[in-house]
Symmetry: C2
Subunit: 221 residues, 2 copies
DNA sequence: CGGAATCCTCTTCGATACTG
DNA sequence: CAGTATCGAAGAGGATTCCG
């Protein structure tokens, strides 16, 4: 099943046997946001090629990191989702994303960008710093992409779609969202579409603030 | 430089552009233990092939993750070592190693094994749990491989070679070391070559205990 | 001898076309 | 919509050779 394994009795080598091939961790990244259909994954991963996606999903399923399931009727469509082992990758994927973010140049220049990729980094940054206070839900719509954060003392989560009840709702374009995430822009000095408390949004953004292309903030385990 | 980049403005995708190719993170794993010569890396990574190692090292150097330096005279040999960015990968490499370890079968069956790979996992496990108390140095010699742990309140480190002054010295073979690491064996019930306090060794092994091939201990960020 | 560059074969990737 | 089949191009792995 793994024709090109490292053949080392080592946790890292084994992790890389399971996750180290091209695209695999990006598939996991997409599934962190929730169950996904085959076609959605294909669209979210420009350049992957359908055979590769099929191969990777098969391998991930065989290794117990991803499972296929069928959404309850009336949807009744097949989706892929993370298993428990797969969910445990969240802090590692988040940590890698933060590490890579600081080494990233500011300029996309031809690169595709998605709010959910930024949001994943924001979640990871927020988990590092920790949220103190009442559970807070923040819904954002960025260039039509809808997702929401839930900040609580026992962790920050992120999902696609719309929450039942949001404390704050933010609508903007991707540039503005990035500027808010990096702290370049604050909810106050911009005329943004915000429903709810700008203060609450500000607090959340501070906890989840990203640093892009900057030397080094100290990483602790 | 990276002809096969993901082209996504995403921290994770960028991290994988820098680290995601085959062998790259295993090279980082080796360098976590200290600076290494080209030939040592070649020997520590069975199967890599000399051109691949040269390519990877060049890419890692170009990306500021690894740097070449020359050991002070009289050694005066060229070695590769991690930069600050490279050092920051330690918790991530450790986390991946622990994740992979639990999905690893007990059986090596033809796989090569090294005490230092186990030791890296032990360090990561120990950092999760944390060490309370006085700084403690433990030297181990496993099938001739010498390395040592330094357990302190602000983190656990591991190096190859011999410490100036060890609180405990342990000498055994790899099987015994693995059994001690997993808690299958304790310093008391084995007749081992131990210099120093068995109690201290026991405390350290408890903090750094590994679980191999077991369902799931809760991972926190 | 340590530190690579070269050559050659095999596998994997990525894109397109095709099928249940 | 959810994959499988096919094929040229790029990457991996091994041996050998070159350089200092």
């Amino acid at each position: 099943m793994t024709p090109r394994a490292y053949g080392q009795f080592c946790g890292l080598a084994h992790a890389l046997d399971l996750l180290g091939e091209r695209w695999t961790l990006l598939i996991v990244r997409e599934l962190i946001l929730g169950p996904r259909r085959y076609g959605e994954l294909l669209a979210a991963l420009p350049g992957i090629g359908t055979n590769l996606l099929a191969d990777r999903l098969k391998a991930l399923e065989a290794n117990g990191i991803v499972q296929r399931s069928t959404l309850p009727p009336p949807a009744s469509v097949a989706v892929y989702e993370l298993t428990e082992s797969g969910e445990e990758l969240l802090p590692l994927v988040g940590g890698l994303a933060l590490w890579g973010l600081r080494l990233l140049d500011e300029q996309p220049e031809g690169e595709t960008a998605r709010a959910s990729w930024m949001a994943l980094c924001m979640m990871a940054a927020g988990r590092r710093r920790g949220w103190r206070g009442a559970e807070t839900t923040i819904a954002v719509t960025v260039d039509g992409e809808r997702l929401w954060f839930c900040l609580a003392e026992d962790g920050i989560t992120i999902s696609e779609g719309q929450p039942r009840d949001a404390d704050v709702r933010l609508t903007c374009d991707r540039r503005t969202f990035l500027a808010l995430a990096t702290g370049e822009l604050t909810p106050d000095d911009a005329r943004l579409e915000i429903e709810g408390s700008r203060r609450t949004l500000q607090r959340a953004l501070t906890v989840m603030r990203l640093t892009i292309g900057e030397p080094a903030m100290h990483l602790s385990l």
